[in-house]
Symmetry: C2
Subunit: 145 residues, 2 copies
């Protein structure tokens, strides 16, 4: 796992330790992390703070020129909401650590010209698989099932 | 303007009075507002809290069954991020108060089977037109231009 996916993983583990859903993300600009976050559904009662959205939010207000040089690292395949945010900001590259437990809207990212890389890291796949098995209702709620 | 679009308008005006971007939204379930919000870019330094996202967030955690009986009213055509959230939650109907100043991703909503109604209320169109003319840089930032 490279350093940025590891940082996203650390965010996911932070969420898990808080009793939350273990999904994390980091926004990287020129090899530097400028935003990091993790799913906040249980911690903040927020239906919109998925890991990716929390990272975008924590990065704060950024000019379009910065977004267009960023890479988003996320531990789990981004859902349609996080995909929409990524397209709004015109992030050119997304690295996905697990697209086995959930297949989000990465096809839409690709269709819009985003460079999508799927790494399927064993530690991430196992972490999410375990969480879904233990708390299926919470997981279903997170993806509005 | 019907009562729900008026409530979204009131949210937009609240944002304007706070020195923010005047876009508001309400989430309505069985003729009752269960979430309301307005753009929080300037107030909270948030790039993700568009009016619609703020309304979804303020509605809190909801079961999928509730989302599927909701109507989203928004004063301005929803961007791709807010469209993505609306599709994640499988909201069946969206009413847009202004699609003159900005055309978001309503075509994507329609393509996914969402009932989209565009009302183009003169008060809303004028409000946003005035804001964009006065603060074009802030507006561009909000849509990542």
């Amino acid at each position: 796992m490279d350093q940025f996916m590891r940082a996203a993983y650390e965010e996911a583990l932070k969420g898990l330790n808080e009793g939350g859903i273990p999904i994390g993300a980091v926004l990287v600009h020129k090899e530097k992390i400028i935003g990091r976050g993790h799913n906040q559904r249980l911690q903040k009662g927020s239906p919109i703070l998925h890991g990716e959205m929390d990272a975008y939010n924590n990065a704060g207000r950024l000019p379009a020129s910065i977004y267009r040089e960023c890479v988003l690292y996320t531990t789990l395949s981004p859902c349609i909401m996080c995909t929409g945010a990524t397209l709004l900001f015109k992030i050119p590259k997304v690295v996905i650590g697990d697209e086995i437990n959930f297949v989000g809207a990465s096809d839409m990212l690709r269709a819009k010209g985003v460079d999508v890389q799927v790494t399927n890291e064993p530690e991430l796949v196992t972490m999410m698989q375990t969480f879904i098995a233990e708390k299926p209702t919470v997981w279903d709620e997170d993806i509005a099932l």
